[in-house]
Subunit: 338 residues, 2 copies
């Protein structure tokens, strides 16, 4: 019996533990693409300190490739899992994995932050199934050493592809769970991906964004008053978009979200990215949401301004990383503004 | 004949050249308050490199005091000039100079950035005249060495005090110009202080603020698109407030303001402050404007969000400077949010 071929792209803290979990099960052949650490990992594997799997020196999956193109030469993949950061304004994930996708065959699994991530994949691969994974793991990659401090807890579902039958998509999600779930991790099926991703946005589109913009953690945001004047009104906009999209969030969701960081001076991920000088996941957290809001004709005065302000911040983050450049002399525009 | 007593508070790059210009004229007795550099300046005076007055070693005015209280012990002042940054959320300028103000006697001269600065002084000193100075000087104080690179160009007017006759206020402004204006500087009377300060806000409330928030200069703000989506709509709000306040700004003001930095990757003052870790002049640039907008019932959806976001940024700037502190453990709030 041949086992499914799985390719994973994005061997950070999350992705490496996902690959390890799949490999531990021995139900599939696991290939990974390693970009920056390829030579080192190919030679010596990963050093892993994991709350789930213990300490492992020199762990390797079945195959390691330096690029998606190389990986694509050697197999047809039943699953391609993407565990990179999702930065479509820097590089589109559906382009990154394109060489490894076989139309109608490969199931795409997006274990990434953000909202409505399936849309661009389904547009490009209308007859492929696209699964959604929301990970609650705590895990970091520091020069090839993976330190996993929080259990690999992952909710799997599918981004609804209107070109395919629902049961086949649900079945595929459950097949994937069978490959991935084991006695160490906590991988479960979650029916309503849209509900869940809206629920996460109540935090991410409003606290994550505002903290990234202002440079304060959620505790200081509360003390400064900006929680009440900006983030909570923005949460109401998220709830309105969800409602227009047929998703009813819990009545006390705002209270739950605000109190979720109680007792911590907590820095959300986008603020951490800004402090590290990394581009932020602006498009998948806020950009995609605003596309849906526009389609549904929901007004978003606050979220839209946050998005436009963060675009300038993102411009700087990209420029500082050399992703974009500006000429030494500022060009003079002859545009008339009014 | 006794000459008028003038006290100047705030001996930065601007204030020191103002004091020097007054002293050069020999029409008044000039006292200054020097806080951080007092011992050094008392001993050796200032080293000045000035486009207006040339190179001067060891310049001193008539009197130098370490505090306003000390200055107040030695004279009754006809004029008290304030050339500090205006940060009422850190320290209220009307409190700083209080010991040196004699009711009904002292004319207060505010050579500071910002909008509606006279209000708090007139509330506290209803029978004193309050003059407005808008400075276009380029001058910096670096450890007691003043480097003035751009001419001392100053527009003087008065903040209308409803308790006093108009002619007496206008006359006082012109008397002050007579003391200050000389053959080196360019000090003129400007009739309509409100018009002028609104005109400045078209830039300061919209570009200065947004650059401070996003961390980019005005050129990059344009390239990122945020000029068009946030700053220009915010300019329209400033124009609406001005209009409701009886001030008609030029039809092409937006175009003029946007093009004022043409060819420069220009960092406005608030962004420079953020980069240096200094508290920003948020209240006098945006807070005071929003008070007026509210009184006039003008809607300010964009300016209000910018203000609330910058309050969080200001919180961090103040905390980093030790002006405010937070407890080590974040307190748990039992407030219910909805």
């Amino acid at each position: 019996m041949t086992v499914p071929n799985i390719l994973l792209v994005g061997t950070g803290g999350v992705g490496t533990i996902v690959a390890l979990g799949l490999h531990y099960n021995k139900k599939a052949s696991i290939s990974v693409v390693v970009r920056s650490d390829y030579e080192k990992v190919k030679e010596t594997g990963w050093t892993i300190h994991s709350v789930d799997y213990g300490n492992i020196n020199g762990w390797k999956p079945d195959y390691i490739y330096p690029t998606v193109e190389e990986a694509a030469k050697n197999a047809i993949y039943d699953y391609v899992i993407i565990t990179t950061k999702n930065l479509p304004d820097v590089i589109k994930p559906e382009k990154v994995v394109a060489p490894a996708i076989t139309e109608k065959v490969t199931t795409i699994v997006l274990i990434q932050n953000g909202f409505d991530l399936g849309r661009s994949f389904i547009a490009k691969y209308p007859e492929n199934i696209c699964l959604s994974g929301v990970s609650h793991i705590g895990s970091h990659n520091n020069n090839g050493t993976i330190t996993q401090t929080q259990k690999d807890k992952c909710l799997i579902s599918y981004f609804k592809n209107p070109n395919l039958e629902i049961p086949s998509q649900e079945l595929k999600a459950k097949e994937f769970i069978d490959l991935y779930s084991n006695d160490k991790n906590d991988v479960t099926y979650f029916d309503d991906v849209k509900w869940y991703r809206y629920r996460k946005l109540v935090y991410n589109a409003t606290l994550n964004t505002v903290c990234a913009l202002t440079g304060v953690d959620t505790g200081r945001l509360q003390l400064a008053g900006t929680l009440n004047t900006v983030s909570i009104p923005a949460m109401k906009e998220v709830i309105s978009i969800a409602k227009a999209d047929g998703v009813e969030l819990p009545k006390d969701v705002i209270n739950t979200v605000v109190h979720s960081d109680d007792g911590d001076w907590f820095k959300p991920s986008m603020l951490v990215d800004v402090e590290k000088g990394n581009p932020i996941e602006l498009e998948v957290i806020l950009g995609n949401l605003l596309v849906v809001a526009k389609e549904l004709k929901v007004e978003t005065p606050i979220l839209s301004i946050l998005y436009e302000l963060l675009k300038a911040k993102q411009f700087k983050l990209k420029e500082d990383r050399g992703i974009i450049t500006v000429p030494k002399e500022r060009p003079i525009s002859d545009q008339i503004y009014n």
